[in-house]
């Protein structure tokens, strides 16, 4: 299937990986878990650069943030006590739905983002968590918000080094919701939410992120604004969920129609906010 590949490298550092990419002109590709790249079967690839030995498999605390290396597998995230405890475990829970056991042992966080699918399961919780992406290229490293990563993805030829999750508001409540054909299938729609309530029960801080309902995973910023300062009651939920659905730009494909995705999005945002407001948040 990859008869055109002439060289396979296993660099031990990010610097070496970047040099190899540059030397490979436009015919070189990074590979880690391979779960997207192999299926894509791009015949123009001449050189493969395996980054799984470049020291990017880690989950670490750095100051008040958590950082996750790009080649950390879905299985490593779903089994990590730190990630299971972080923000109600929404990222661990999303990772645990990301395909079968075998796929989750192979697929990586960096690959899930780099592949750029609007249905990427880890992207939605990461957007709700204000995550930042550290990119490296020949000029050096830079850290950009995940939202910016998605808006500029096609233009960049950088390597994702790690994802950083900053400290979240105290007393945050969280939820991750996903609808797929089966528990481990690709998302038809997914949603993540984060809420911080003030002493009167009004929403002080709100995050609503949506997957598989637009060309990239998105934040429903208008819906977030509508809920901020309000009690999370029936009337607020109705308005906020309608607004979130309005912010989507879903497509019709083999898995679902645009109308179905928009309606499902409304339902999942409601479930997510209800779970957050219910006080328990989601847990594994």
């Amino acid at each position: 299937m990859f008869d055109t590949v002439e060289a396979f490298y296993r660099p031990g550092t990010v610097g070496e990986a970047l040099r190899l990419l540059q030397n490979g002109k436009n015919r070189a590709r990074f590979v880690a878990g391979g779960t997207d790249l192999v299926v894509e079967a791009d015949q123009s690839i001449r050189c493969l650069i395996d980054i799984t030995h470049a020291g990017l498999s880690y989950i670490r605390r750095r100051g008040k943030a958590w950082v996750i290396g790009a080649t950390t597998s879905m299985a490593a995230m779903e089994n990590s006590p730190a990630i299971r405890a972080l923000a109600g475990g929404i990222l661990a829970r999303a990772a645990a739905t990301c395909g079968s056991v075998q796929i989750r042992n192979m697929a990586t966080l960096g690959g899930n983002l780099a592949n750029g699918s609007p249905a990427a399961d880890t992207a939605t919780p990461l957007l709700a968590l204000d995550a930042e992406v550290v990119l490296a290229d020949a000029r050096g490293r830079r850290k950009i918000p995940l939202t910016e990563f998605y808006s500029g993805r096609r233009k960049t030829k950088a390597l994702i080094v790690e994802v950083a999750i900053p400290a979240m508001p105290r007393g945050g409540r969280w939820s991750f919701q996903k609808l797929g054909r089966t528990e481990s299938d690709i998302s038809l729609v997914n949603a993540a939410a984060g809420l911080q309530l003030d002493s009167q029960g009004r929403a002080k801080w709100v995050r609503i992120a949506l997957g598989a309902v637009a060309p990239t995973p998105i934040r429903a910023v208008n819906a977030e604004k509508l809920l901020t300062g309000r009690k999370v009651d029936e009337s607020a939920l109705a308005v906020v969920c309608d607004e979130a659905a309005r912010e989507t730009r879903p497509i019709t494909d083999v898995r679902a129609s645009a109308e179905y995705r928009r309606e499902t999005c409304r339902v999942l945002v409601r479930r997510a906010l209800e779970e957050c407001a219910g006080g328990t948040g989601c847990s594994l």
Binding site: M1, G33, T35, V39, D50, S100, N105
Partner: protein, 172 residues
Amino acid sequence: MKTMEVRLTVNGEAKQWTIAPGDLLLDVLRREGYFGVKRGCESGECGACTVLIGGTPINSCLMFAAQAEGSEVLTIEGLGHGDKLDPLQEAFLDHGAVQCGFCTPAMILNAKALLNRKPHPSEEEVREALAGTYCRCTGYRKPVEAVLAAANRGGRKPRLRAAPAARREATR
């Protein structure tokens, strides 16, 4: 065509093979005679090509052979010892958990990885471990029984949760 060398351990035996840089592990294993590694969908859906790498199940159709450099690969051929089968293989036979047999190596290897990690799994955990292997004979119930029995060897017969009536009918 360009070639390269890959050194790895397969079923406890050290191997050095000449491969093409773009060869997938599935193709190389079958070329070398490990036909228990099945070629199914070749896109990571069906799980029939499952092997254990360092004890972890992966789809060999999605892994480049070059990525297996230095690793320990276990295929179904490496599970028994001569005429002595692995307890999981015995349990699959005892429970009639094999129909056409195409998915059986993958089912058993996924179960092996689970039992190594967790010797007494719940039924839910067994189902989760087998969920990435499709059986197109649709015989999922008996493999689950077999894995639970292998885990409880010598203990009482495992009791499965009742199947919905329609499903029970379909699996007869």
